[in-house]
Symmetry: C2
Subunit: 376 residues, 2 copies
């Protein structure tokens, strides 16, 4: 399924074959939490900005509209009208970050819906069933995302349970993929490495899950409060214990700099809400750093957000117009910023792939970081 | 400038030639109050849904971003990136409906900005200057929009002042159109007929302003609280006193039924916030009546909002998906509804033009009203 095309140092350039098409890696997945990109961006728009993979959230779709509704409507691809790959997370992270009162047991997690307070149970089997109903291309294993900081003892117990949950996920997905009314019978499963900032726990866990021959492996529980240096250190120490011939996914990360550092350490897949969230706050990513479009200096600026940018927004509208839309609280301004920012991330990944292919990733990374550090 | 192609009863089918292209009438102008259609719809989207004329508000753009800013940026067409006709209202209606404490004097109106409470003065000359700065295709004369109900005495005094203001508007626009740095030196001016529901005042005023040889004539101060029957009656009695060889514009109206009734009485131009406002409240216009997309019956409905509709939304997305977006409070749902509703209005005007051309407007109107009355 994954073909390693070339390496430049530890940086990997690969191709991941799925039933919904080939993903060129490294890749940044565009986050559409509730089956929609926030900021009024449609799947038709995603087709124009180089999006390869859309990511939706199992927990959100389970509570609304309900995964059974999505299944009856033919699965997430048909529901959203998106024919390329979709990755669904397992719901684990949201259960631990969003949901109300929760109890972790060996069988799974009891918690309250953040929408209506209703009591819900989710364990490995439920997460796999929901993701099978959603019929995503890639499902994520159900794990515990441990708090940061956590004691060594808590972490070890949590990781051991996550391993036992992974075994149950594998078994359940195999069963689901063989059922006659399963929409995507070739759904793939990525396991998730945990262990916080305890490198030895991470490494042992990576070795353990690597034996399970999954379709891909993720690093979870990072970017949850530790420093960037701690995160880079953990990635550097753990990735060598994950299979080279499988994709590696760093969950929920991050800034352009974070992505460049992680690619250098062998990561293939990324996702993050930054481009859409920052867009909704009036910030645009550019090769000269982040711009705050609300700034008065753009009042009469008729240039595009980024000169030379090929995104549909920069090809048409000016800084002055976008600033006005933001000031006037017109939704259109947010849509424009989110569109540009997602394009910026997708385009950066394309540049990264090109740089690795040409074995000049280090030079590319240096130049990109220096450019972004200039400030606007 | 206006060419009457044919008539079907009183209904007019015309062509209005402007520096920004030809407008086929009857026409519905799409309202982009603050130089943006509410609901994250861009001018690029308008190109795809049959929009002929965009309408922006002088008062809103004067307070933000400021008409001088728009002028420095090359005018509203360049600012919004819209090359077809733009009509700007005079600011009068907003001064009387939105602004704080106001004082009406012979010279104009003193009022407070609804944004920052700042004291502003606007009279006929100021309104013309602002609209000249915005460089719209068609400017509206500065009038008083009298309260409803108003006494006969108040109304007569108000209408007389509106006539004197119109004379000042004509003079000022002539001056502005001759200035070397005016962006649109061919800016056109529409006068506004007032008189509330006093038919005789309306008629006298219509006769008076018809002598002034303006580019078009509007009926203002309707749909402000009087019944539909009163409004239709006033239109029917007044339009015959406005020039047949000029376009007639019914300001701020209305529902599809209102438009059909007014077209039958000789109106050419319309504008209304209903399609975008109702869209933002989850309502879609269809040929079978209005749909509330939040209704539970659409939860599993994979049909488009309107079967056979050629709008970009109905061509792609289902009722079930749009309902989910609305329930999840995703902006994308609002964008889809506004897009569809504007398309519905624009398409209805196309049908109206076709029906008048083929002298079957009455049959068309009857069938359309019956269809919409079915309910969904």
């Amino acid at each position: 399924m994954y073909r390693l095309i070339t390496q430049d140092g530890q940086a990997k350039r690969g191709e991941f074959h799925t039933v919904h098409g080939v993903i060129q890696t490294p890749v940044f997945m565009n986050v559409g939490t509730a089956a929609a990109i926030k900021g009024a961006v449609s799947t038709m728009d995603l087709q124009k900005i180089g999006t390869q993979v859309e990511l939706s959230n199992t927990y959100h779709l389970h509570v609304r509209p309900g995964d059974k509704v999505v299944k009856q409507l033919g699965g997430l691809h048909k529901f959203m009208v998106w024919d390329k790959p979709i990755l669904t997370d397992s719901g684990g992270f949201q259960v631990f970050s969003l949901a109300g009162l929760r109890k972790i047991k060996e069988e799974g997690v009891y918690f309250q819906s953040h929408i209506d307070g209703r009591r819900i149970f989710m364990g490995p089997e439920e997460s796999m069933q929901i993701q099978s109903n959603l019929a995503s291309t890639i499902a994520m294993a159900f794990d515990e995302c441990p708090p940061h900081p956590a004691t060594r003892e808590y972490m070890q117990n949590s990781v051991d349970r996550t391993t036992r949950w992974l075994e149950r996920c594998i078994k359940e997905m195999k069963r689901l993929n063989e059922l006659p009314d399963t929409i995507n019978k070739k759904q793939m499963l990525f396991g998730i490495n945990q262990g916080g900032t305890f490198a030895d726990i991470r490494i042992e866990h990576a070795k353990r899950i690597s034996e399970m021959d999954l379709d891909g492996y993720a690093l979870g529980g990072l970017a949850v409060g530790e420093s960037h240096e701690e995160m880079y250190d953990i990635i550097e120490k753990t990735v060598p214990y994950l299979p080279l011939e499988k994709p590696t996914y760093l969950m929920g990360v991050g800034t352009p700099a974070n992505i460049l550092e992680a690619v250098e350490r062998g990561v293939d897949f990324f996702d993050c809400v930054y481009p859409s969230r920052n867009g909704r706050h009036g910030h645009a990513y550019t090769n000269h750093g982040k711009m705050n479009l609300l700034n008065a200096r753009y009042e009469l600026d008729d240039r595009p957000m980024e000169e030379g940018c090929q995104c549909p927004v920069c090809q048409t509208y000016s800084r002055a117009y976008i600033r006005h839309l933001l000031k006037a609280k017109e939704m259109l301004g947010l849509r424009m910023l989110v569109t540009h920012n997602l394009y910026f991330y997708n385009k950066m990944m394309e540049e990264i792939r090109d740089a690795i292919e040409h074995h000049r990733f280090k030079e590319y990374k240096k130049a990109k970081l220096e450019g972004m550090a200039q400030g606007e």
